[in-house]
Amino acid sequence: MPSEECNMKVRINNKQHETQAKTVSELAAQLQLPAKGVAIAIDNELKPRTTWDDTILQEGATITIIKAACGG
């Protein structure tokens, strides 16, 4: 089966993205976000970095990343 099957559609800074990341941590790794100087909100709610491992991404989530030139 094509690998897109496990891709999830999310919006990152107003752009559609497909990701295989299951958590915010995995998404941050996939987008190669730096280890500091980044803030991420899911559906408007800012998520402390300590919760990134445990925060599960949902299909259709609206994600805001405060880091220039991310999620390109």
């Binding site: 980044v38 709610e45 800012l46 402390p48 805001t64 405060i66 220039a68």
Partner: protein
Amino acid sequence: MLQFISHYTDKYSYLDSIRLALQGGCRWIQLRMKDATDDEVRPVAIEAQKLCKQYGATFIIDDRVALVKELQADGVHLGKNDMPIAEARRLLGPDYIIGGTANTIWDVKAHYAAGADYIGCGPFRFTTTKQKLSPVLGLDGYRRIIIEMRAAHIDIPIVAIGGITKDDIPAILATGITGIALSGTVLRAANPIDEMKHLTNIVNHE
């Protein structure tokens, strides 16, 4: 997203205001002490940073790039009369959040090109917090700026600021604005923690 900008009243110090905001669920704090020196700001900033770490909140300081670097805060917010964003980016490198104040789409474009991570855009309406005033934007001003940002493929978050009350929040977020910055309105409430909880609820559920 809600950003709280520190403020003081007869009743509450800068640090109190930050503590109340964190207790009320805000996870993005800007320490702003406009007329103080770096030496006056440093001890407050150190305590504020500790509080923010405790709550997992993002901690940025208004204007003071050197202090941000010294304390390794999460970032800096630069107003129109502060250090240019490109220079701050050069001094801080990529691992700090840099926000810039914009009143027009031209400001937004210039800040984005200079390497800003987010925009603080206002004033939404007339405010007494800031003495140097730019023309108020209102909802139409935000709508126009959002349309032009999208046309220019500028995808950094944009936070509305300036005289915003809780009743304004849904309509502002409906324009495509990604966040709200608040200052005075929280401390003026009878119970600032409850007020902040209410405000974070409104923002997080829009």
